[in-house]
């Protein structure tokens, strides 16, 4: 099986604190790994390491495919209508508008297309961020608390989108306090690493 993402003997230092060391993991097509653990255990830092936004203090991080990331910031221009804000990322990802249409439909955001991003609620913004992830077509998904503020219906849509992504040969690294009911999910307890 081809590996999409591989972390080898990685250590992460934030400030003066060693968050974890000797961490290795590999994600192949269809794999999903759930990072769990208490606040400050390094879940988000591990996501950022995998995304290449942080450099590991030790070890190597290898990404063999494109990456899509959700973190605490939505990265959507607040003054724009939702659809135009998402279209910007579609152009950056060089995917066509239909991909955005389909992804907005998957996240049930089509009725909100003309609403300015600034007027959206936390959960709606998370759904919008998911639209960007889905539309990007990137095989590696790095989702940091993607369900924050989402209601049950939205969580179900998120789980469905993840299942579809894995069925298409995508991989998922999920940092969350809840398993979200995703089937066939590997676990890594970050609390035991420190």
């Amino acid at each position: 099986m081809t590996e999409l993402l591989r972390l080898d003997n990685v250590a992460c230092i934030r400030g003066d604190r060693l968050l974890f060391e000797g961490l290795s993991l590999a994600l192949g097509r269809g794999d999903a790994l759930w990072l769990r653990g208490p606040n400050g255990a390094g879940k988000s830092s591990l996501i950022r390491l995998a995304a290449g936004l942080l450099r590991p203090a030790f070890g190597t991080v290898e990404r063999r495919e494109r990456v899509a990331l959700i973190d605490e910031a939505s990265a959507l221009d607040a003054e724009l209508p939702l659809r135009r804000a998402l279209d910007f990322w579609a152009r950056v990802d060089t995917v066509d508008g239909h991909a955005v249409d389909r992804a907005m439909d998957e996240m049930a955001l089509t009725p909100l297309a003309e609403v300015p991003v600034a007027m959206l609620s936390t959960g709606q913004r998370k759904r919008a961020a998911m639209v960007r992830v889905i539309a990007s077509g990137a095989p590696i998904w790095l989702l940091d608390e993607p369900a924050n503020g989402m209601d049950e219906a939205a969580q179900a849509r998120l789980v469905a989108a993840i299942a579809k992504h894995r069925a298409n040969g995508g991989a998922l690294l999920l940092a969350s306090h809840f398993a979200l009911g995703i089937p066939d999910l590997a676990e890594l307890d970050m609390g035991t690493l420190a």
Partner: protein
């Protein structure tokens, strides 16, 4: 390429959106209006000092949007999302510099006409000023984006940003204003040389500063 055009347009749209287009222009006009009141309505004096005043006002007008260039993008996670997609920080910086150069440079050159009239500049001097400012705009944009990136992690960064820009912009001021002096014939070449240097260094320095924001 589509992606780069999208980046550039986004920065330009944000520079001109919600009335921000008129901010440097208004500021520029404000200085030119206030100056004759402070100095007095002596036309020869205004003509002599006005050219230098235009340069000072242009420099300060370039500084105005300094806190809107990088910090909002950093806070909104836009810079992270671009980094994840593998964009080089230098490329992101270059797009920001280009968009800022056009974003404030173009309106500034248009506002130069009424400003010159207020400061009793004749046609020949207006032409010299326009050429000089057009040459200096990319360098000013480089400096401003660089200091915006350097100060994006600090509250009140715009004040520090201004202090960072000023010493590096002094050559532009000297040679730009020097072009107005009848004996300063080499000034335009020196202005072009210093502008070229700053414009070339700008994206790399600002790119390094953007990279530093992630650590």
């Amino acid at each position: 390429m589509t992606a780069l055009i999208a980046l550039f347009w986004r920065d330009l749209r944000r520079a001109w959106g919600s009335g921000a287009l008129w901010l440097p222009v208004l500021f520029f006009l404000l200085v030119a209006t206030a100056f004759p009141f402070a100095v007095g309505p002596d036309a020869p004096l205004l003509r002599r000092a006005g050219g230098g005043m235009v340069w000072v006002a242009a420099l300060l007008a370039a500084l105005l949007p300094i806190d809107r260039l990088v910090r909002p993008d950093k806070d909104a996670g836009v810079l992270d999302q671009l980094a994840v997609r593998g964009f080089a920080d230098e490329v992101i910086a270059a797009m920001k510099i280009g968009a800022h150069a056009i974003g404030f440079g173009l309106p500034l050159l248009i506002a130069l006409l009424p400003v010159s009239a207020l400061l009793a500049q004749d046609a020949a001097r207006v032409e010299t000023l326009a050429i000089g400012i057009a040459i200096a705009v990319p360098a000013l944009a480089s400096l401003v984006v660089l200091s915006a990136a350097l100060t994006a992690n600090h509250k009140g960064g715009s004040a520090i940003g201004g202090l960072l820009v000023l010493p590096l912009a002094v050559p532009l001021l000297i040679f730009g204003a020097g072009m107005l002096d009848p004996s300063g014939r080499g000034a335009v070449k020196l202005l072009a040389a210093s502008s070229l240097l700053l414009t070339v260094i700008g994206p790399f320095a600002a790119g390094a500063a953007l990279r530093g924001l992630r650590e």
